[in-house]
Structures are given as structure tokens and as C-alpha cells.
Amino acid sequence: MPGLIQGLEIARRALLAHQSAMNITGHNIANVATEGYTRRRPVLTPTVPETTPWGIVGTGVQLEDVARTRNTFLDDQVRKESALAGSWDARSQVLQQVEAVLGEPSDDAIAGLLDQFYNAWLELSNQPEDFGARAVVLQSAEALVSGLRDQDARLDDVIESTDLEVEQRVKDINATLHEVGNLNLQIQQSEVTGSVDADLRDRRDQLLDQLAREAGATHLIRADGSVVVRLGGRTAVEGTDVHGLRAERYTVGGKLEVRVLFESDNSYPRDLSGELGGIISVREEVLPRFRNQLDGLVAGLVDRVNQIHRAGPSGVNFFVGETIDTLEVEPEIAADITRINAGSSGDPGDNDIALALAALRDERFLERGTATAGDVFRQIVTEVGSLTRQAGSVSGAQAAAFNAVVVQRESVIGVSLDEELTNLVETQKAYEAAARVFSSAAEMIDVLLAM
């Protein structure tokens, strides 16, 4: 009799275990499309066997644990690649905007306007006595100025949107850091019983993925189940303590800049990576340099044009202003085009000044006498083009590397419907068989009782 009762008990345990297993499979299937979901696996183990005079006899099955199939090594890989991919991708996107500002190669962008300016002087050199040719010179100079101004304004827009982006990112990162801090606490509280709270951990892993992409954050898992997040060379989250970032705008030399600091002590983060790092790298290294180069080009051009032009009878400079935002055609000239000098002698047919100004096209008066204005501008365009191309191709390669490790991680944590269906059939059959065991045991007890 005890043996038969034992049979019922084994069958009952099996029914319970397989029912739970089926629920787990069901949960997996339900979450097949859930972002950040980690596949759960029922861990079935035999229950403690019974020692009987005729040997050690099994007592059935139990659901020991719901395993969360997570591999921290792959997580680290994914996050490392994600940080790099994010950094290059963000860098590439900002650079693409800068490149679009240049609008080259074209005949309508700055290089073309510069040539139109030179050509207008040639036109004047053909008809130095002509009023109309002077109007053409003025018009081409104003087109060049407005082209440069327009480009400068669009560059300002890129800088402004980059700064806004930095501020927004910092806000997002801080929110994420705080959420990780909260989850550290919740997980600790929830797992006090010793079992893993898979859903909370999934959520936290998702946030850690996000932090890696956004700012290149790394982390350590403590024995108590909490994570320590490191960001920009220091600890950003430990337990529930959070040290967030702060974006600050300031002006230096009349130019608006932005910097990112740690909120708590205003120290600078080191080696920020991820999207924020990518944006900041362009914002700090490329944009100001690009601006300076353009300003240098304009200052050099203005200087040389004025030097030649004021040698003529009107004695006035042609341009005023040293940088692009202050640049304009000398107001005296804009008001009276007869103040434009074509020749130094003042003879109506003298054109030496117009010729000298047109010859600036081929004169190396920039970069210590090594480059023409066209050379310098072309160099800027080529450099931005190279940086953009490099960022684009590295970003593409990084995205591929990232995708490869993601697929690898997915192979561990992802739900496969076919696999779950197989498990479902297995579980279902096991359940049916256990039910059969139960009814057989019950029949046997009936037989015994009927004796």
C-alpha cells in the first residue's frame, strides 16, 4: 500500500512540475517579441530519493529553479561593441550635417562664389571704365559675403542642435542611472528569498545596454546582486548612490561651447564613449577647428584684398570685418560703386588693381604663403569629407561587429518558437504520461481495495 500511494505522489509531483514547465514555455512564447526578454528555462530535478530496504528509490520530479539564460561575458561583449558603434554612429551623423553645410562639390557653394568674385574683377579689368562692371564686382562680393554668412549660420545651427543633443543625452543618461540605482534596491529586496527576479534583472540589463550605447558605461556585478556602473572614469552608480552628469553651456571668445561635468563635484569625465562621446568628440575637436579654419581663410582674404584695393585712388578698404560674422563689403563702396578701384593711376582705362585682385585666385597668400584661398577651402572640404567617410565606414564596421555579438547573445537569451513548441510537446506528453501513471496507480489501488 505505501508503495502504491508513493506512485500517486510521484505522478502528482510530475503533473505539477510539467504544468509549471508548460507555464514557463508559455511565458517564453508570450514574450517572443519582448525587447530585452531573457529566455527562461525550467530546471527539473529528481526529488530526494527514499531509502528503502530494497534499495534507493526515486520519488519523482520537482521544478527546482527557473533559470535565466544569461551570459555575462556576451553581455560585456555586446556592450563594448555597442559603445563603439554608438560613438562612431553619432560622430558620423554630426559630421554628415557639417558636410551638408559645405554643399560641395558644386558651382554654387563657397568655392564657386569665390571664383565668381575673382571673375568679376576680371570682368572689371576688361572694362575698367565701366559702371556696370563695378556693379558686378559689388554684387559678386556681396554674394560671397552672404554665402559665407549663410554657411556660418548653418554651421551655427549644427552647433546649436549638437549642444541641445548633448543636453538631452545627459538628461536621458541621468534618468537611466537613477533607474539603475532604483533597480539595484528593488532587486535586492525582491531576491531576499534567494531566487532570481528575472523580470527586474531583464529590465536592468536593458538599461545597462542603453547606458553602454549612450555613454560607453561599463559595470560590475556585486555578490549581493547589485551592479556598480562606471562612466567617464569614475563610479556613477553604486547601490542606490548615483553620480549623474551635467551639461553646461559657456562662452569663450564670443563662441558658445558646451561641456559635460559630473554633477556632484564638477570633475570632467574621462574617455566618454558611446553616442554622447561621439557627439562630444565632433563638437570639441572638429567643429571649432573647422570654424577657425574658415575664419582664418576669411581674415587672410580680407587682409589681402584690402591691401591691394586701398592702394588705388579711393584709398578705401574693400571689405570690413575680420571674422565671418562681422564680414561685409566696405559700406562706402556699397553706397557708391565708383569707390571701387580698378587701377592705381585713376585713369579710366587703368586696370592693374583689378588684375591684381583677380590674380589672387592663384596667389598663395595663406598658410604662410603656401596656399591660395581656394586651396585652403578645398583642404577644409576634403578634411571634413575624409572625417565623415572614415566615421561612416568605421561606424558601418562597428555596427556589423555589434550585430554579430548581438546575434551571438540572442542565441543564448532569445526565444525560439520552434524550440518552445518542441518543449511544449515534450511537456504535454510528459504531463499526459504522468496522468496515465496516476490513473494506473489509482486503478491498482482500486484492485487492491476490491480484494
Partner: protein, 303 residues
């Protein structure tokens, strides 16, 4: 450990492959639509550098060609003016020969003298020829007549004065990088530094009026010398024209060279792009076909 393929990874991989393929096809389509291989510097930074240089040269070349047209039309104007001056001198020479003939009476010589005066006025007018609004023999004083005529009460030319401000100065036109042509033909080179041509004509007229055969005879060699002077300068103008025509041809050839250089780098090779497009389109179709079949296959279909 066997490599599991999760349903999500399967979907992501398929959609990524399709998206990649679509992007390539779209890019090729855009290239085919506008014919450009370089749309922005990052498409080909090195190529952009080269293309921008070609474009710079083409824009300069366009203006140099315009300048060359200005040079050519100016020189042609000078050239035809020189022809007219030479014709006037030939006419004066034949009058001189007739005037020197002793069979001519004073009345006839007076008539010839009037004709010579007309010729003198015509030559001076030619010296003040304006082309495109400027005096072509006036040096850089392009808005002032090169020669001023004083007439006496009978309407004869009393004297000719060269513009006291001078008729010199360099008139240059830029027709290429480091290449400018001086297109100035000074009145001095045509009519003589002391306006010998005008003076000879006036002397001939006065000799005819005076009926002084000796004096008439004396202008013969001077007319000859003046004709030589004009001819010499005319030949120089002709050689300038020839040189300008040759340079014009070179500018046009430069344009063709630069344009073909630019298009070779900046524009797509249509044949190759079409081939690429077709290949990638096939790849896209294949990705879609395979993807849709993989997505449909599931254990569920058999349960």
C-alpha cells in the same frame, strides 16, 4: 554548445539583410537618376579634392574665354581701323602724285588740297576711333579723345594736338593663369610720336595750296615713311591676333580636358552603374524570396 537561432534573431537578420540590400539598390538608383558619383565630399574625399580643382579651373577658364573674346573683338577693331588708315594714306599718295604733276593748274591743286584736308580729318577721326565705348588709341585714358583738332575759319585743319594727359599706359587683359596680353596699340605707333602722318598731310595740303612743286615732291618720302610705320604696327596687331586665336584654341582645349577630367571622377559610369544596379536588384529579390520562405516555415504549420 549548439548555436541556437532565436525567432527574434531570425527576424532581425532577415530584415537587416533586406534593408541593407534595399539601401544599396536605392543608392545606385540615386546615382543613375542624377548621374553623379560624388554627391558629397565623403562619397570620395580624394576625388572631391580633384573635382573641386577641376571646377575651379573650369570657372576660371570660362572667364578667360570671355576675356579672350574681348581681346579678339578689340584687336579686330584695331585691325580694321588700321586698314582704313592705310587706305587713306594710299589715297593721299595718289593725290600727291597728281599734285606733283606740273600740268595741274592751281585750281586743280586747290581741289586736291581740299581732298587732302578731308583725308587728314578722316585719319584724325580714325585716330579717335571708339570701340565698346573706349578710345582705342588713347592708352589708359580711354574716355578722352586721343587727338584734338583745331580748325581754322575756312574749315581746314589748323593743327592736331595729342591728348596732353598722354595716350600711353598699359592695357592688359588676363587670358589665362599667369598669362596676360597687352592689347594696347598706341597712337604714337600708328601716327608717329610727333604725329608725323598728320603733319605730312597738312604740309602736303599747304604745299598744294601754295602750288609749291618742290614742297609737294618733298612729302612723297614722308608719306612712304608714314605708310611703313602704319604697316609695321598693323603687322604687329596681326601677329597679336594670330596669337590670341591660338590661345583661344588652347583655352577651349583646356576646357574640354578639365571637363572630361571632372566628369570622369564626379559622374557615374552609367554602364557599370546599370550592371551594379541589376546585380543588386537580383540580390534584393533573392533576399526577399528567401526571407519570406524562412519566415513562413514553423513547427506550427505541422501541429
Amino acid at each position: 554548445m549548439t548555436f541556437r537561432i532565436s525567432t527574434r534573431a531570425l527576424h532581425d537578420t532577415i530584415s537587416q539583410a533586406v534593408l541593407d540590400s534595399q539601401q544599396t539598390v536605392l543608392q545606385l538608383q540615386r546615382g543613375l537618376a542624377d548621374g553623379r558619383a560624388i554627391r558629397k565630399p565623403s562619397d570620395d574625399p580624394v576625388g572631391t579634392n580633384v573635382v573641386m580643382q577641376y571646377r575651379e579651373r573650369l570657372r576660371a577658364n570660362e572667364q578667360y574665354q570671355k576675356n579672350m573674346e574681348v581681346v579678339l573683338s578689340h584687336l579686330n577693331a584695331v585691325d580694321s581701323t588700321m586698314f582704313m588708315i592705310q587706305e587713306q594714306i594710299i589715297q593721299a599718295q595718289s593725290i600727291q602724285v597728281r599734285g606733283a604733276d606740273d600740268s595741274q593748274g592751281q585750281d586743280a591743286r586747290n581741289a586736291l588740297a581740299r581732298e587732302i584736308d578731308q583725308i587728314a580729318q578722316a585719319v584724325i577721326d580714325l585716330g579717335n576711333t571708339r570701340f565698346a565705348g573706349v578710345y582705342i588709341f588713347g592708352g589708359t585714358r580711354t574716355l578722352e579723345p586721343a587727338y584734338e583738332t583745331q580748325l581754322d575759319e575756312s574749315g581746314f585743319v589748323a593743327g592736331v594736338e595729342r591728348n596732353p594727359n598722354g595716350i600711353d599706359g598699359d592695357v592688359r587683359r588676363q587670358v589665362g593663369r599667369d598669362l596676360s596680353l597687352s592689347i594696347h596699340v598706341s597712337g604714337d605707333d600708328v601716327f608717329g610720336e610727333d604725329q608725323e602722318l598728320f603733319q605730312t598731310l597738312l604740309d602736303l595740303r599747304d604745299a598744294l595750296l601754295a602750288g609749291d612743286r618742290e614742297a609737294i615732291q618733298a612729302t612723297h618720302d614722308r608719306l612712304e615713311a608714314a605708310q611703313d610705320q602704319v604697316l609695321g604696327t598693323h603687322t604687329f596687331v596681326g601677329s597679336l591676333l594670330t596669337r590670341a586665336e591660338a590661345l583661344k584654341g588652347r583655352l577651349q582645349a583646356d576646357e574640354v580636358t578639365n571637363e572630361s577630367g571632372r566628369t570622369r571622377i564626379e559622374d557615374i559610369d552609367v554602364a557599370r552603374a546599370l550592371l551594379d544596379f541589376n546585380q543588386n536588384q537580383v540580390a534584393l529579390e533573392a533576399a526577399l524570396n528567401a526571407g519570406s520562405r524562412i519566415l513562413q516555415s514553423s513547427l506550427l504549420n505541422y501541429m
